[in-house]
Symmetry: D2
Subunit: 283 residues, 4 copies
């Protein structure tokens, strides 16, 4: 991922010092115009903006706080842009450590896989002090098709990135249950896939529309009532039971809809299960 990002920056005329633990991996970037640094310290010490993209908390800690790390190297007013998917706790710690050292810090995790990075199709988040984010923006904009700014608390960007990954994982689980159920009913996976793409794939507005509804938190008038949704969940679980296919997510949602109906919300749109998720959190 880091490689693709470096290529993009070079291609757009940015000057780059590159550091990678496996030095040989950085070699092609040298040929494309980057200077290669032997340590994170060397890569960072003359930079206005340092971008780190690493595997996990441990790697980010090592590269930032280590003896030959970024924190010790940065010039006053330089900004460390952390693109890694890391914990909220570490991001808070990084924000505090950079602030204390008079350095800028922006959390800027990205959505998209390396293939998307190559095509400049990443979507980036950015959170941190406004002045820091301003300085980081040209680099961030060079890295993808857009940036969403998420305010002054850097770790909020990390939380949002993690939320996005949880959402993807939820979709995989739901897909798993859907394919298992239809496959056991005799539908070939390829056929179900074709149908799925036609209904839910690229071009579908279903997900977007429900997201809009949840953002507005309005469930009247109902496009599809919770009590009808409950009916369908019951029918699906009953059919799955006959076919001996456990559907844990479906059971969980049936319980939400059942509770919605039991507490007098059956005539609201079934999007109300999102409101119930908020209420459970004390919102």
């Amino acid at each position: 991922m880091g490689f693709a990002m470096a290529e993009l920056l070079l291609a757009q005329g940015h000057q780059l010092f590159v550091y990678n633990r496996a030095h040989e991996k950085a070699q092609p970037l040298h040929e494309a115009g980057a200077r290669i640094a032997g340590t994170p310290f060397d890569a960072a010490r003359e930079a206005e903006v340092v971008i780190s993209m690493l595997a996990d908390d441990t790697a980010v800690e090592a590269v930032t706080f280590g003896a030959a790390g970024i924190l010790a190297a940065l010039q006053p007013n330089a900004v460390h842009v952390s693109c890694s998917t890391i914990s909220v706790a570490l991001s808070d710690r990084l924000a505090a450590a950079h602030a204390e050292a008079g350095l800028g810090y922006v959390a800027a995790p990205v959505f998209g896989r390396p293939e998307a990075a190559v095509a400049k199709k990443l979507w980036l988040l950015a959170a941190g002090k406004a002045a820091d984010v301003e300085r980081a923006l040209p680099a961030l904009e060079a890295l993808g098709r857009g940036v969403t700014r998420l305010g002054e608390t850097a770790s909020v960007a990390n939380l949002v990135k993690l939320t996005g990954n949880v959402f993807i994982a939820s979709m995989i689980e739901s897909l798993g249950e859907a394919f298992a159920l239809t496959r056991k009913a005799g539908v070939a996976p390829e056929l179900f896939l074709e149908l799925f793409k036609n209904v839910f794939g690229q071009g579908s507005l279903i997900l977007e529309n429900y997201a809009s509804q949840v953002a507005r938190d309005r469930y009247e008038p109902a496009g599809f009532k919770a009590k009808l949704g409950l009916k369908d969940l019951r029918l699906a679980l009953s059919a799955a039971d006959q076919l001996e296919v456990p559907l844990p997510t479906a059971s969980l949602i049936r319980d939400q809809l059942l509770s919605a109906v039991a507490t007098g919300q059956g005539d609201l749109d079934w999007g109300v299960i999102a409101r119930m998720a908020a209420k459970r959190a004390g919102l």
Copy 2:
């Protein structure tokens, strides 16, 4: 919904007898060229194809098996196309009853809301005996942008429709959890929505790509390893815990990923949680 479907058929030159329990609702269709029937029996008795679109099992039973119902009215070789979202059990019963009476029966539930129907953007399923489906196809094709044929067992189409609704409900629950979490972290819902649309909205291939992976059931080489997914779920749940936001779906998936790692599948793509859903079902 039925109204929009009737309009589409009329607009495309089909001759229509229309029955609705609330007769006045059908009146505008009369002006558009349909004849209005006083009972389901009257609507059905001269028809080659009867399309029923009703709220639930009870309504379909009444309209089909009742004294003035469809089953008693149909001419030999006529086909009953049932577009309602009903139970697998009732669809099986309908198939048997029509077969016994020498009549055709096609289960043809639809994806899309009334607005989509108006714009001829529904997606239709069709299952039943091949000859029956053939006779129903012109009407079905007039009703939407495409039809997926699902074989000879009519109720499979109903199961697939229910599966789709479960999938939508899963997305709402996941959206609810995502908005609750980010909102409690201080992100305005509108801002999260904007980001969400950019990453997961219309135009995104994420869902489609994961669906393809699940259909292929191939998790090597890994685009994103299960053990890294587990890491992210842990970080998200930890942050949610701090913010006091329960994420039941996320916990469920964390458990799947934990089990994937515990059973030696941590280096596979995290799509493997879909395979685990299949294994739990004995597939």
Copy 3:
């Protein structure tokens, strides 16, 4: 089970007609004084009280409604005591059918396995019209160590029996998670069992005390606060995560406690998770 019940009744001087599908199984009861009937009808036609104990709904339907069944055989004022674990729906149907025929019907499912029956240690439920239950009581009291009367709606007894079985299954799941976790931490199952018996086994009041608290629905003053319970669930889940042991029940409860704290109930006794279960049901 039926065999043990029959022996108990004979031993206490009751006169018995016995029917079992496998006639030879009833033979020893003949030697103990019972008369053997060739059909349910023959067993029932002279009886004041008929007791049925069968495997499932299907068997009870056959023996009750069949051509040679109980319903056709019973004398006016005779009572059918149904001890089988059957559905609420079938029990309602049985109640209606017996009432219509002028016959008594008591739902009397039992807690305990065959070994307990032999030792007269079953616990019995009884629901139905008061007069019916009165006539059934001598037989029920002969069958176990006690009877709980559950009012006039027979199927309530069936629901309560099913609830008890769900409770047992919950304990097994919780035991499974506890043994898996401790075993993976290196504790021999036998050792954990010994400890478990000392803390939770016969003689322990823990379960009884919590049941009393839930029945009273009083969570103040707190013996153990929800927020401390949340702390322990977090620590347990964290340790389980390290050991790669999924604990779905623990996650579910962590979410309840998290929601309790998020909604301002953290200082109540952690028994409040039972109140939340009631609220979800609209109580």
Copy 4:
């Protein structure tokens, strides 16, 4: 809790230095013969065995590692017995710190509430180096009705204590679901409580018997087959659905039983759901 433990030790002739953050709370112990210390350091510096019983990780860290803490005070060969319910991670850290300082450390969490402590009815765990546990044993035996030794890794005792608390919480959730369901069916909570005590209360062997089965991991011959258990869970969930009572634990278990049947284990005893919990953990 600490107060009751101190009283027990004094009553059995142990010499005690007592420290409590709220000094006045310790006063009655002074009258019973204890000497009162102004700091943890003072309480610990002459002791052979120091027992700490505190609210959480933070308190234990403060009292142990603080400037006036236990670790700095202890004489060589003295043993710190930590009875608090703390994290596995902190217990590991305590074990390492004490070992490094040449001091003994025993994790000895307890089961039971303060009332049980007063009556010497606590049950204690003990884990740590054998020699340390030996030195701690007289004190531990003075504190309750028994001690289970859990080997040389101290933190295993903490894990087992947490597991016990998870088990209790699971029972509360299951009780909550059971009372909600029966209450909504019209059964008075007091009546269900009475029944519950008779079937599952003190004197019942049900829990103990299932624990033994799980410890043995033997599910043949079946006392109650998984497929029959599945039948009962289905019937219970169906009845709960009618009454609009969500039963998340029951749904979770239904899924386990469904998977058991789908994977060919339906004829095993339903205790097999415990084995499935172990398998998910890679055991």
